[in-house]
């Protein structure tokens, strides 16, 4: 009786010791790796770091303006939010990797356990891939428990982090279920062995390991697991990729999985991107960023992707405010004085999305990787650092992307062609900053310093108030958040090699 009186397990949650007893419980613990863990990264940090710094977008907004002019410090909370969110993904993945094997119920099959470990290692690799691209050297943590009493650990070398990512992805390739992406989108949400191959191809590309990148991207293409909307899937288009109803479509390789249940569980990007609350119907829609003049000018005439990415005056979107007959962008559209607004990831009112949607919470997924990327990786891997290529496979992959956008094909391609194509294909999806970060540094500085990041005046015709920034080489990695530097000054020291266990 006495013992009972003093035994108070959680009454509103589940004790870890009673979990992982069935496949359903394991699936539920995997689901958690796709949503809220990513929230603080997705909400502001992701696009502030990538789109503002890369020159795709601009802002006056005090919280994130410093990303656009390369003056951000470790005190910036948006930066810290991104950092803590990515580490949250790693901590939760590690918890699963370390707790599951010793606690799993006896009647759960081995392949279920292996698949779960594969998903967790895939997610850990994904988070590290963002970390290494944003901050460069960071510590490799396989189990938080190892450092609980000695948290002051050095950062590890960039090459070791890539090695670590590759090992996780190789494990994922070997242990994840093999899938084929079909029309039942609900089945496509969790990553597959093919997802891991695709991501690993990209990781190799970043290290200029072209043959590996080519081999893996070719395998993914040959498998037919993924399909390109607007090309392989009849009746669809590039613009459909970003609609809620197309969550986990055939092109999606891995995505953050949002729901509009409450703050923290949904996609909050629309709140910042939409130019007015008319679009969102939920009171938010602050137009915190606008597409730079430079990005607006990056689109070739006739590129269908422009309208799916950027709103210009007079553009008509039937899917937004559909019950009112659609939405026409007003003449005075002027997010951050760019005479334009962001469209990508803007999905409209709850009614436009089957009733799902709250302020700062829409249900449309955020892509981490989609199949178009595999095709462009394939092309670039074949180019393999050369001046240009007319390789049939490379052209096939590259031109498919252009044709989907309604543009003409190229007879041969250079790296600059691929970089430009990647920019417009993935604008507002975070890719361009990482592409600029992996190419020749001097070339990247030159590209950025020539970008028009200024504003339009209100005159008719408008005059450009020009703004340009020239980053230094150090500006391509972000400062470590001050809160963690205060706890661990070793973050500022040189990275050390990582000792791999196996």
């Amino acid at each position: 009786c006495q013992d009972e009186f003093l035994n108070r397990p959680p009454e509103d949650g589940i004790s870890l010791d009673n979990f992982y007893s069935s496949e359903e419980e394991i699936t539920a613990s995997l689901n958690a790796l796709y949503g809220t863990t990513w929230f603080n990264f997705n909400t502001k940090a992701f696009w502030s770091i990538t789109e503002l710094a890369s020159g795709n977008a601009r802002t006056f907004s005090g919280d994130v303006i410093n990303f656009g002019n390369f003056t951000v410090t470790g005190d910036n909370t948006v930066l810290t939010d991104g950092w803590e969110s990515l580490w949250g993904v790693i901590a939760q993945s590690n918890a699963l990797i370390n707790y599951l094997p010793e606690r799993v119920g006896a009647n759960v099959g081995e392949e279920v356990v292996n698949n779960a470990l594969g998903e967790a290692r895939f997610m850990r690799a994904t988070a590290y891939f963002y970390l290494v691209r944003i901050w460069g050297p960071v510590p490799i943590v396989e189990n938080s428990l190892d450092y609980v009493f000695s948290p002051k650990i050095p950062t590890n070398r960039v090459e070791d982090i890539y090695e670590f990512i590759e090992r996780d992805l190789q494990f994922a390739i070997e242990n994840l279920y093999v899938k084929n992406r079909g029309g039942n989108y609900a089945d496509n949400g969790h990553v597959s062995s093919g997802s891991a191959k695709a991501l690993k191809a990209k990781v190799h590309l970043y290290q200029e390991e072209y043959s590996e990148a080519q081999r893996l991207s070719q395998e993914v293409i040959n498998s037919g697991e993924f399909k390109l909307l607007g090309v392989d899937v009849p009746g669809t288009s590039y613009a459909d990729l970003f609609k809620t109803e197309f969550n986990n479509n055939e092109e999606s390789i891995v995505a953050m999985q949002w729901t509009a249940a409450s703050y923290g569980t949904g996609n909050a990007m629309q709140a910042s991107f939409a130019i007015s609350s008319t679009i969102t119907g939920t009171g938010d829609g602050y137009g915190v960023i606008g597409p730079t003049i430079d990005l607006q000018e990056a689109y070739e005439a006739g590129d269908e992707r422009r309208k799916a990415t950027i709103m210009l005056a007079g553009d008509y979107y039937p899917e937004i405010r559909s019950s009112d007959g659609g939405y026409t962008v007003p003449e005075d559209v002027n997010a951050q004085n760019t005479k334009a607004g962001i469209k990508k990831y803007v999905v409209g009112t709850p009614q436009d999305n089957g009733g799902a949607g709250l302020a700062q919470a829409t249900a449309n997924n955020t892509y981490i990787m989609r199949y178009a990327d595999v095709l462009l990786i394939h092309a670039e891997a074949i180019l393999a650092g050369g001046a240009s290529t007319a390789d049939e496979g490379a052209l096939q992959s590259f031109n498919t992307i252009r044709q989907r956008a309604g543009l003409g094909t190229f007879p041969s391609i250079t790296f600059e062609d691929i970089l430009q194509e990647r920019r417009v294909e993935f604008a507002i999806e975070g890719e361009y900053w990482f592409d600029l970060g992996r190419i020749n540094r001097q070339q990247a500085i030159e590209i950025i310093s020539n970008q028009e990041r200024g504003t339009y005046s209100n005159d008719d015709p408008p005059v450009i108030y020009s703004q340009t920034y020239t980053p230094s080489s150090e500006d391509f990695t972000m400062p470590y958040p001050a809160v963690d530097v205060a706890l661990n000054p070793l973050l500022l020291e040189d990275p050390v090699p990582y000792e791999f266990n196996d």
Binding site: G13, L16, N76, L358
Partner: protein
Amino acid sequence: QNVVTGKVTTAEDGQSLPGVNITVVNGSSGTTTDIDGNFSLEVPDDASLKFSFIGFTTRTISVSSRSVINVALEEDIAQLGEVVVIGYGTQQRGDVNGSVASIDANVIENIPQPSLDQLMQGRAAGVTVTQNSGQPGAAVSVRVRGITSITGSNEPLYVIDGVPVSGDATNSATSGRTAASSFNGNGQTGVSPLAAINPNDIASLDILKDASATAIYGSRGANGVVIITTKRGQRGETGKITYSNYFAIQEPQKLIDVMDLPAYAKLQNDLAGIYGVQPRVEFINIELLGEGTNWQNEVFKRAFMQNHEVSLSGSKDNVNYFISGGYTDQDGIVIGSNFNRISLRSNVDAKLKEWFKVGISLTASQTDENITLNSNRNGIVSLGLLQAPDVAVRNPDGSFAGPPPNPSAVEGNINPVAQALSRTNTLVRSRVLGNFYAELQLMDGLSFKTEIGGDFGFDENNLFTPTYEWGRFINDNATLYQSNANNTFWIIKNYFTYKKAFSQKNDITLLVGQEAQQSSWEGRSLIGQGFVSNDIQTMNNASTLINADAYKGSQALSSYYARVLYDFDNRYGVTATVRADGSSKFDPLGDTQWGVFPSFSASWKVFNENFMEGVNKDIFSNLRLIAGYGVVGNQGIPNYLYGASLADVRTGLGQGYYVTNIPNPDLKWEESYQTNIGLNFSLFKESLSFNIEVYDKTSKDFLYQLPLPLYLTGPSGGESYLAGVGSPYVNLGELQNRGIDLSINYSLVSENSDFSWSSNLNLSHYKNKVIDLYGDNFDITRTITTGFLSSPLTRTIEGQPIGLYYGYKVKGIFNDETAFEDLPVQFDTPFSEELGGIWLGDIQYEDVNDDGVINEDDRTFIGNPHPDFTFGFSNNFRYKNFDLTIFLQGSYGNDVLNLTRKETSSLSRLYNNQLEESSDYWTEENTDAKYPRPKRGDDNSNLFISDRYVEDGSYLRVQNIKLGYTLNQDLTQRVRINRLKVFASIQNLHTFTNYTGYDPEIGAFNQDALQMGVDIGRYPIPRTFTVGINAEF
């Protein structure tokens, strides 16, 4: 022989005094006064009679052949609280071996403070009280002998008529949720857990300070125990009706000099030039501008306060009773804040048989408060300084105004008046707290007592954000956050007391007991959005329910205890206590669930020794030494940390579960080892008495949550709901507090009973130091988030006091272009005239670690929030029917980090008002400036937290002056009033300080020991003018 009759009354108000001992000096006869204070005694003509009564000065009067002797006895200030409540019993003040400070109810009556924790400030040595906010009903920080826990609560345990109540406003050991929601994590909303108690019902406050005193409360007493005894009907008292009231006006103590419109316009024009933007057309002709809006006058107001209380008390046929009802209504001096309370109390004791007594204490109350956004850059107080004087409060149509809706005004601030009056955060707390007891006299000296106590609370919090359009600030979607919480606590105690005197010299009291207590909590919250009207704020009117949350939990504590009090010959005293506690906080499968905590103390009444007989008692007397040592446990942590739990979260793939914490199955009791040595003595016929105590309080294996970097946990603290894996709680390290409590009492001994005077000076000094934090693997950092910047604020490391301010040291302002090449680079920013470069007029920081660059590693300790000492000085004078009290209180040697000044002198944004003095900024013409050159953007190295913002927080406050007049009884009795007193007082008349902000008494942000003395728009404490009456029928 002669029969003398007479009546004994109180000198203060002429009340009859029953039970006064009257003895014949050098004789053997004696008597006591009856219910009406009358006595009759046969005595020799030349005899002297000694009148003595606890709590009153003993008087000796020679009979001189008189047959009627009426005596008025003075209350003895030095003897106040003669009987001390020590927990599960009482003891004579002079016999207490542990450290106990007492506050008499008289000194805190009629003071316009709604909550009793505030009333303890400056009243007892060793008890440091700071008001964290001037918000009516806000939580205060009470520190008994320094700081015991680094990250846990440091508030003492309050025992109200036997029912323990935690002083922790954050409920960190129970639900972990504050009663009031915190405006999306911004601002301070801690409310006093004691606000339910009407201070007028209190008879005495006894504060147990050292381990030997608190040991009987075991693990819940680690931070000290405040025992509150409420008033009860007095035996022999006929029916008494009292009515008291006061009415008060409160006003801000001080306003700060910010720019008026012309000065502001000039600044905006100058800043536009510096920032390289177009100056505003409306500021072209400064001389045409009026004064503009004085926002401080708009956010502060004169506020009214009133208090009424009726009580009925008496005794008849072995039943005594005290029944009271009280009402307090306090409007805050910052608009949008107020507090009111209705309280009822019923205390009844009945002696059913000679051997059987029962009684009950019951109080029910409801408090209703409006909390305004404060202690934040976006709080009402901060915005009262920052809002631009060209922004009107209201538009011509009566609606609220705001900065203009053009993109260049993006840096402008929301209208604080609109915000305070429209965005509401209301909290209604209903509470029933009571204790029932039955006491059996089993045999001579042996009694058994059983007590059943309960504390039931229901909180309802509503936070409503309306739709609005205040200039560029537009909200289309009203939101209602509503939460309800139920808290249930019960305690059962059973204990035997055996009290016996042997052979005149040995006096022994034994206590053996058992108790069990359980606390459970549950709550729900809903968030609804989309309201048709801002006026109807109920959840059924929300068009969408955007979130529903629920929580539930409980904890239990089981205990056994024993205590021996032994006194030999009124010379040597010993107290030995042992208590064993079993706590549900620790793993039931492990062996750490139970902790045993012993304590021992002894005293020596040196003055009662034979060798002291030669000492002239008129000069020196009452010398006594005490010493004690004990161990107290602490288990004040959240539930189920010995295991890991999973929380649910919804995702696009369906329900998900994530791990919430890193478990620690080895978690065990924190132990605090406390030593106390004390000395007291009196001088000059006991008119001047001294009490000095020194202590050492060392917490070992203290419980705290490891301060892990984000790279090991993911989202933490307030954001841990975003699927962070919380750091484990561990037993680690060692923290020491050493200090001195000094109390000096003076009371004038005068034959002339028309005049009396007493004073009390108490000084508290503590010094705390972290002895061990598990090697140098850890240091604990608190960060502060203002706007979108989050900066380390305090840091705690081995060998230093906890919570020191952490930042850069300023060398000066760069003034010499030629020196740049030799100087260390700051923050990787080149010395350059280019935008973004560091150049003349910028702040030059010190290269603290001397490595040739200035970066985060050059942050160091820049200030100490701990005072060298705090003090209270109270003075009571009475002349005939007048009484006057003057109470001074203060703090010396503590630093304050004035971040309000940082924000109001930043010169980093347009559309923000600034301090008048900030116009003294660096330009090429003004190189000897106080402030650096303006730079746009808050993420700006000139504005890093540095010693520029550290100020001396010492102060001396004239906290209360009160004058009372008691009308002549002859006069008042004609209208059946036994006693009528009128009084007037001024609270916080003046504060002597060098601090430049509103008020140097900052306190701890939401009681956090690591965020002490940080002023970021703190709600200042008002000056209050009060008048009132106390009437007794």
